[in-house]
Symmetry: D2
Subunit: 383 residues, 4 copies
């Protein structure tokens, strides 16, 4: 039962079997605020793994499925069937289950990027969900309280007119060639499962989404230089992109899986004609805010001069006690729960949507095309 007295939402999961990273994260996120109860799952495409994984997380035998199609059909038919489903498979396996559950009238929580191709994303966006089923894309970094506050500060005019946006997401875990038994690495470097983008899809989209979420500026065009540094790798592992936004703002985006010394160095810096903001994901409870001509201020999550209700309602504990990645993720889950229950109006504009998913794919495709055309400025609206 949720902390606010609401009944828990019955949740299913597609993907996320034993050994999976992001499926586990979704499960924790669903538990933190007490808004969901996981009751069904098609946790693997391999029946034996699906079975064992389901038992490990305590699912009843009759709600462990070996295919998402069966699960969508059976759960939709049960009076106590799942109300929502989390899709945590590799990218190329997002589209079909998302379609199946939406058409079955079951709310969908889908990991990013939304699909492995722009075509799939557009097809998904064109679906008519049954019973008003909703869709959440887990661009989880938007759930960090200070990212919400950054968005409020920009919207309030505290930064003035935005001029420069620097987004980056360096990692180093793919510095060397990967072996097949590295489950996380193998599908992320395989075009058949990831789509046309490697680092750009896996982490570049996060940095891109964050820049868009905080500034609200629409992207006009990109000029990209994508590289595969590791011999034999088929997808990009380093991404250099210049961005132009409507209204004249300019940006840079760097994403890398080969930047030795960086674990998850997602960083966003935004500068306007009145102020600037700087935030890093690996120490997310702090954000620099500078008004031109005054000293830098270190804002803290939930600390002095926090924003209004929308930004602060997801601050769980007092400032100085760090919240992290899982809490930010959980905020998406619990605010989506409010929307499902019909009392989430305050979050409608905050949670990442199908449209964000399509735009993310446009960003990937436009960047890949630009890179193939020697950096030609490419409009997102042209892909």
């Amino acid at each position: 039962m949720a902390e606010n007295g609401a009944k828990r939402i019955r949740l299913g999961m597609v993907g996320g079997g034993t050994g999976a990273f992001i499926g586990y994260v979704h499960r924790v996120a669903s538990r933190i605020d007490g808004d969901y109860e996981l009751v069904a799952g098609a946790l693997s495409s391999r029946p034996d793994v699906a079975k064992e994984s389901g038992r490990n997380i305590g699912l009843a035998e009759d709600r462990i499925y070996t295919s998402y199609e069966d699960m969508a059909r059976a759960e939709a038919a049960r009076p106590d069937g799942i109300e929502a489903v989390s899709i945590v498979t590799p990218n190329h396996m997002h589209y079909s289950p998302a379609k199946a559950f939406l058409e079955a009238g079951i709310h969908v929580i889908c990991d990013k990027p939304i699909t492995s191709t722009l075509e799939d994303a557009r097809k998904l966006a064109a679906i008519k969900p049954a019973n008003g089923a909703k869709f959440l894309l887990t661009h989880n970094y938007t759930g960090y309280p200070l990212i919400r506050q950054a968005r409020e500060l920009v919207a309030s005019g505290a930064l003035g007119k935005i001029r420069v946006i620097q987004a980056e997401y360096p990692q180093d875990w793919l510095t060397e060639a990967t072996t097949d038994d590295n489950k996380q690495a193998s599908w992320r470097t395989d075009p058949a499962r990831s789509g046309a983008g490697g680092a750009i899809g896996d982490i570049g989209t996060h940095a891109y989404n964050l820049a868009r979420f905080v500034t609200g500026l629409k992207t006009q065009a990109v000029s990209a230089d994508l590289t595969s540094f590791v011999p034999g790798r088929q997808l990009d592992d380093n991404v250099h992109i210049l961005l132009r936004f409507e209204g004249g703002a300019k940006g840079m985006l760097w994403a890398s899986q080969v930047a030795v010394g960086n674990e998850n160095g997602l960083q966003l810096r935004v500068y306007g004609d009145k102020g600037g903001l700087e935030w890093r994901q690996d120490n997310p409870n702090y954000m620099w805010f500078t008004e031109f001509g005054k000293p830098r201020q270190l804002l803290t999550r939930g600390g002095a001069i926090s924003g209004n209700a929308v930004s602060t309602m997801n601050v769980r504990i007092p400032s100085g006690h760090p919240e992290g990645y899982l809490e930010a993720f959980a905020t998406l889950y619990s605010q989506f729960a409010a929307i499902i229950r019909g009392d989430g109006a305050a979050y409608e504009g905050l949670l990442p949507t199908m449209a964000d998913g399509v735009e993310g794919m446009q960003f990937i495709v436009a960047s890949v095309q630009s890179s193939q055309n020697d950096g030609k400025w490419t409009r997102l609206s042209d892909v």
Copy 2:
């Protein structure tokens, strides 16, 4: 259901009604790893608040109690009664419920400090729990993965013989006089509810416990200077203590509620004749480790050169994705769950016990006595 397939432990709560800080934290901590299901509560000493608070968190009507005595009796009698209880009341209300539940054969998870007086702590320690009921004291900072790793590094000899320990816990939230309607502040500054220590009990014990947990060194004596800076305040809001450890190590402990600019600046620094460690709670996913004559290394939670199974089993997500206060707290809950289920042998020496609680009270009493005696070195064993 827990991620490992185990059945959830039925949990009750004493204290933690609407508006309480630490009760909420315990509830989140109990949910994160899926090891507990909260099913009963005596959430307030005021019946109406107890009722409303119970409904808010979804308890069944017949398991919302208005006294802990009733709850202990009734739950012990039910076949589906609670197996464990969390006690999250002000300090002076720890002893009686802890005694009641232990004697009812129900495992107790108790917030710190263990009681408001050393006498109560000793009486509690002398109780014979029914049915082998276990006791956990939530010195939650010991749940941080890097604190576990620090303990391992010290135990491994990587720091050599320990010489100097600097522990501190500065806050600023009590910089000004508090008003009665500040629920968190009012009981913490009231000797009747907090006991003889103010800052020393609320946060000094955390810093002390952390130093003891990481180094394993036994304390010999303290020399203290406790101060109440805010006019009219009855308890200390600033604590300056010198420490002597067995074997010759020396330490300093500073705790303050009036250090403007500090939120929860808990910090531990340990230096031996071969190496040094430095860790801060407000950025807990990083720890400095230096071998003498070599450059400082920045260790990360779960990153390169992590420790063995005991320290890493509570790392939930990859390094670079921050975990925080709630996860550290949850680690105590889930590892205590393992102990309750009988498969927690690996954690026996790690989780804070009744004995740690008694020692914490000795530390408070010895420090208060030393301060009253103009800083006379006072042995913990003499109080």
Copy 3:
């Protein structure tokens, strides 16, 4: 007299009158190690300012000049005439005095960028200096000890094959339109005095030079997007550039004068297939060095695992006692003094040369052209 017993070199200065920033810096730099004695100057193109400024810094009346031509002629004729001259005028006034003094057989220390046009730079490079007069370009950031050490680490192979170079230099001092009485700002935003580049010439060249100095990689081509954000400004105040290096490394360079909250945030990050380096100018006594798969190490200036003689000979005081901008600048001065005296062989490859100056101009011109051609990749060798 220098600390090594050598006689001080007689120095003159062109530019650097009262109120000038960089002239003062050069004078301090010339004094720190005791290798120079300033004895003559043409400190301003305005005779009264030249006179007063000369008196202020204690020049003898007969060695205060009102034109650099007079000074070159007169000093070259004196038996005790200056042996070297510092040229610290705005960019467009570098070429002529540099030419005059070199042709008069007087060593030249010239502020960067070398000239205001590439044509001038090439003409200067083609000059035959009399008496073997030498030339130093004060890309002062190359004088930081850890930058020298970074260069050594790269050269030693500690980073492996270089893949990614991220250079940036954000400032915020030109966030708003400047007024004519801001001496520093007015010439830097005036094409007639600065040349075709604004931020790119003033600070972009520093970031570029640093990347080149540390990695030793030759630049192949640039793709640039230069912007003037402040209404009415004629030159770029924000620079976004993608870089390609020979051998396949890729880079990004960001320079900005409108990034609110940044004073002089020059930063260099270099990643190879074995290791990574990160350094910031505003805290220059520290540098991150990571070997893949190991924890980050924080190297300190002159601290553990410092490099060989070449990098450490300019460490003046023990690690932990910060050296700064002026010391880095002074290192160029004192090592150039050694070269002048004929005992500076160790520094020959370290000090920025005429060729570096020409390349800096190529970088500016290629970037401006690329930006005018909508980001077309432009080879430095084609301009």
Copy 4:
């Protein structure tokens, strides 16, 4: 010649021969602002070293002395004799030369601590200098611009009434036993040359002086625990001290030479009932300033909201370009030069004096006595 047109002051030096650390530092400090010209020296008590050292730094043969007595006598008699002398010998060799030069009417710049015994300090303070000769004690950290600004902020009331002062100075260079050929280490660990204090005299006095300089609060009493951790060491290498100030403020001081991982971690934190300040020497161009209830602000040297003329007149270069230890040291030299010339009224209260030197010795003696008396609170006025 100084930047302000004043003639250079003729300077001599006692101590500081080849291989000495602090003598070199004094020489650089004397050069940076161009206020002094070193023309004479008795650089070593060993004649051959004195000779060679003098030649190395370019002294004329007839002004290289082999005893300070000769130097005082001869220089006082010359029309072009030194006007000031720097004393940079080990502690026990401060008193006699200081006395000799003051009585010869020559200004004295003396390294700290002022002497090796309190008795000597008092005798020195009782001397009547000839010709109004002045005395400067080089507590060099007081020359950092942000330390000046901290002092101004406290004096302005921005912090309110001061409550808590935390000063510390950890190093690690004496973690292991030293050998005789380590010149820096050997005299610092020798009571005959250092006096009764080891770490407390070498670095504890710096931390103490800084706390006193910034807050202006008079010390009432100390309670100390001094330790020699390294076997065979005669003097303390770790210092734990509690402080009480007049007016009720409390403090802690930690100094250590065995804190592995610390180079020169001098840190001062001051908290009042309205605000707080935090500063570290190893990154001295930044200072945290927090007004209660507002976000932390990061002040920069010479940046936004800098203080008045007194604090800013020693900012040499724009904020964001770091100044360091040598510049802070140079500020004492150049402001003492102004006092010598008679135009330094603004600095009279800022530069460390004979009285500060005597108080520093009282602090050492009181702390040593307190430690010998098992931490008994000991008044500085009682020693």
